[in-house]
């Protein structure tokens, strides 16, 4: 026993830096920017950061299960966009001039949210899952197909027109704070609940264990009696439901939508997951890590805005962060071989 402790607990400064590179990066850069511009640590800014992160986190959590099982979902962003459009259409003010459905009285917003989530899971989730498992189309291509299909649907659905005039209840909820606490936006509460549910699902249920098993070795998972087909389909359904939820949140946060809402968000979500430790080789990834990965992106973006860096440069920095973070991830993997 004593031998084991000394072996595993031996402190290695390089290893420590590599393993905690993200936290170190976030904290040190935040301090730097905060010193340059004290408004960085203002309530309003932190709330804004949390609200942005909330939406991105829900998308990342949705895609994480799919990634851990060695699949992918490139339709994520477009699904978020379509869900946003559907929610916005249903929740337009009755007196709004260019209302899509003039005779519709806006129903309860939570009912809309739940129905859209279920609808997305049963359509896009199931179809993605079936295409990948039954038709054996590689996930990368299969879900890319779905990406363009969903975009097409969104264009038809909105008539390529922006949708505005959302009911106050909906937009005010999205911009409001939880119990009047300035720092915590309502959106963050939804995300916290989703994180808790996903953490429970991943760590305390057979579904989670089976998910990691499939990611670790799909062939061994099948031999162990895990129905990989069913599991894969369910992972896409959970993903689709969360994309729908993110769409619901995003449309309200933006106060209006268009068919281009959330375009390309899947890549941020994939990058966030990977940076947060969802292994590119499948089988690993934790909810807390994913939060780190997503936060890194959002904090970096805000920091660069505060420093007055040109948007063009923020893209370059984001790209570098993705590559470096994933290089570090791979390094950990290779070292253990």
């Amino acid at each position: 026993m004593s031998e084991k402790v000394s072996k595993e607990k031996k402190f290695d400064i390089v290893q420590f830096l590599v393993n905690n590179a993200l936290i170190i990066l976030i904290v040190s850069s935040a301090i730097f920017v905060g010193l340059q511009n004290p408004r960085f640590f203002s309530m309003a800014n932190i709330k804004n950061l949390l609200a942005n992160t909330s939406v991105r986190m829900v998308i990342a959590l949705g895609i994480s299960g799919v990634l851990i099982m060695r699949n992918n979902d490139l339709s994520a962003g477009r699904q978020v966009g379509l869900a946003g459009c559907i929610c916005a259409t249903l929740l337009q003010r009755a007196d709004y001039a260019s209302k899509v459905y003039p005779n519709l009285t806006p129903p309860n917003m939570w009912l809309v949210c739940i129905l859209v989530m279920i609808g997305f899971a049963l359509t896009f989730g199931v179809i993605n899952g079936l295409v990948v498992t039954k038709l054996h189309v590689p996930a990368f291509i299969g879900t890319y197909g779905m990406q363009t299909i969903v975009y097409g649907i969104a264009l038809i659905f909105t008539g390529a027109q922006p949708i505005g005039g959302l009911i106050n209840e909906y937009t005010e909820w999205a911009s409001g704070s939880f119990l009047g606490i300035q720092l915590i936006p309502n959106l963050a509460i939804i995300t916290a609940i989703v994180m808790l549910v996903m953490w429970f699902l991943y760590n305390h249920t057979p579904y989670g264990k089976k998910m990691y098993a499939i990611g670790g070795n799909p062939d061994a998972a099948e031999v162990s009696g895990i129905n990989t087909t069913r599991m894969t389909i369910v992972s896409y359904m959970i993903a689709a439901a969360l994309f729908a939820l993110a769409g619901f949140m995003l449309a309200a946060k933006a106060g209006g939508t268009s068919s281009n809402l959330a375009n390309g968000y899947e890549l941020f979500a994939i990058a966030g997951c990977t940076i947060g430790g969802v292994s590119v080789n499948g089988g690993t990834g934790k909810v807390s890590g994913i939060l780190m990965g997503v936060l890194v992106f959002e904090i970096l973006k805000i920091e660069m805005t505060f420093l007055g860096i040109d948007t063009a440069w923020t893209y370059i920095v984001q790209g570098i962060v993705i590559v470096v973070a994933i290089a570090l991830d791979i390094r950990k993997y290779i070292a253990k071989k």
Binding site: K4, K7, E8, F200, H204, T205, P206, K209, K210, Y212, A213, G216, N217, D219, A220, A221, E222, V223, S224, G225, I226, N227, S279, N281, G283, T284, K336
Partner: protein, 503 residues
């Protein structure tokens, strides 16, 4: 100039938990066939992989053509004139035979300043080579159209075309028919006539005695000795290979088979060249062996019973009742478990902990409130397994890939014991694990059978089957050629049945 083209001196190589090679030496003369013998796990393939640059040796010297050399990778080995035909083929099925032969060293021609691949030359050279070796294949055909044994011959042709000074053949005849073996021997004789040295690895005594000039025997990673083959007899080789009385290798039998309980009827594969008309029955508490050569379709039959492979017909009965098995999930729910042959490929979950590896097949047995996993109960089951099977590991949270092969195998056995199956099928349960761990696994098998479980053991090691089984079924080319028990349970009889349809 020394009389040897190759000398390997005091080669050592360790893997985590196993010393695979312990001061092994080998001397090869030009124009000679030098056989390397030993049981599975003796270190033959490891030694050759050190020579071919796949593994890096920890210690020792390689003297090639009178000079000490370091071989950094297979490409380097080929450049130096060392070619290897691997036990497991790595064919590129969708490319032509010619492209497979010249893979990585395609002939080129120049069009102006640009070098392009000279397909015409490649195809005609390949065809000339195939014709010269008397192999009736067309060089432009896709490799995938050939059978496994024909691919093996193409692989050998590739080694010949490399103009190597040393050719390593690692169990080249394991999938060849008798006629093809003759063809191979003809090719080997032509190579040696040109002064090429051949290192030949095989388990088949008659082949070794027929083709080789010298024989080196290894055991448990150690060098035992080298003898001219005309001084050798089969008995002598086995005694040297095993190095001890067979009795020590297996625990005493403690199980008593009861009534017939598990029946397999009329299994036919969806594939033409796989198993056909397979029916057999096993008794409760019996250890039932399945023998045969590589390619006998034993694994395929077992995986089909388990629902992993497609069948056109076939029924499984347990206790007189028909079992509906469409996939492994069904098999497990009906009390059947399979420990697969390919431990890395579809056995272990490398990145997951020992705990997760044990619990993965029985997760639904540890539920609290019907949805939540009872981690405490899982911990108890895992700790009990680690203790009972004496799995050597720092903790239950260790990733399984850090364990030795024998301990990984025990973890997989634990996985199924947690599920308490009635029928346990074990495919090559002791492949690639050391002698001590083998004994422990035999003991576990014996104990399970004595508790009334039905055990089916597939193995390529005949002494192992003879040592632990009550009866042994023999397969050849997808068909069951007989079941031996008692007096008939000997290597000669099993070998005869294993080769019934060959030649």
């Amino acid at each position: 100039m020394s009389e040897y083209i190759l000398e390997m001196k005091d080669i050592c190589k360790s893997f985590p938990g196993v010393k695979a090679l312990d001061h092994v030496s080998l001397q090869l003369k030009p124009g000679h066939v030098h056989s390397l013998m030993g049981e599975n796990g003796a270190g033959k393939s490891t030694l050759m992989k050190c020579l071919f640059g796949i593994y890096k040796k920890d210690e020792g010297q390689i003297i090639y053509d009178g000079e000490e050399v370091t071989i950094s990778d297979p490409f380097d080995a080929l450049q130096k004139g060392i070619a290897m035909v691997h036990q497991e083929l790595m064919p590129i099925r969708d490319r032509s035979i010619a492209e497979n032969i010249y893979c990585g060293r395609y002939p080129v021609k120049k069009i102006g300043p640009i070098k392009v691949i000279d397909h015409e030359k490649m195809n005609s050279d390949a065809q000339a080579l195939l014709d010269d070796l008397g192999l009736g294949f067309k060089a432009t055909e896709k490799l995938g159209t050939l059978t496994a044994s024909q691919m093996q011959l193409v692989e050998i042709a590739k080694a010949v075309s490399a103009d190597a000074k040393i050719i390593i053949l690692d169990e080249p005849t394991s999938s060849l028919t008798l006629k093809e073996v003759d063809k191979l021997f003809e090719i080997i004789r032509r190579l040696t006539a040109k002064g090429c040295g051949v290192i030949y690895i095989s388990h088949k005594m008659d082949e070794i005695l027929q083709i080789s000039d010298e024989v080196t025997i290894m055991r448990d990673g150690q060098y035992i000795g080298t003898w001219p083959s005309d001084e050798l007899t089969t008995e002598f080789i086995i005694a040297k290979e095993v190095g001890r009385e067979l009795k020590d290798l297996y625990p005493p039998k403690i199980n008593t088979p009861g009534e017939t309980i598990f029946e397999v009827k009329d299994f036919d594969s969806v594939l033409d060249n796989s198993f056909k008309d397979c029916s057999f029955s096993v008794r409760k508490g019996e250890i039932f062996g399945v023998a045969g050569l590589v390619g006998a379709q034993r694994t395929e039959l077992m995986e089909a019973i388990y629902g992993l492979r497609g069948i056109t017909s076939g029924t499984v009965y347990y206790n007189g009742q028909t079992l509906k098995i469409k996939n492994p999930e069904d098999a497990i729910n009906n009390g059947i478990a399979l420990i697969t042959e390919d431990r890395r490929g579809n056995g272990i979950f490398g990145v997951l902990s020992i705990s997760d590896n044990v619990a993965v097949a029985s997760l639904n047995d540890y539920l609290l409130f019907r949805v939540m996993l009872d981690h405490k109960k899982i911990g108890e089951v895992v700790d009990k397994s680690i203790q009972e099977l004496s799995i050597k590991t720092p903790s239950a949270k260790t990733q399984i890939k850090n364990l030795s092969g024998g301990n990984q195998q025990k973890v997989i056995i634990s996985r199924w014991l947690a599920k308490e199956p009635e029928v346990l099928i074990m495919d090559e349960p002791t492949r690639g694990i050391d002698v001590g761990a083998k004994y422990e696994i035999y003991s576990i098998i014996g104990r399970l059978a004595s508790e009334g479980k039905t055990i089916i053991v597939v193995s390529s090691e005949m002494p192992e089957l003879i040592g632990i089984c009550d009866r042994i079924m023999v397969m050849c080319e997808g068909r069951i050629t007989g079941i031996v028990e008692g007096e008939d349970m000997n290597q000669e009889k099993i070998m005869e049945l294993s080769t019934k349809f060959m030649g």
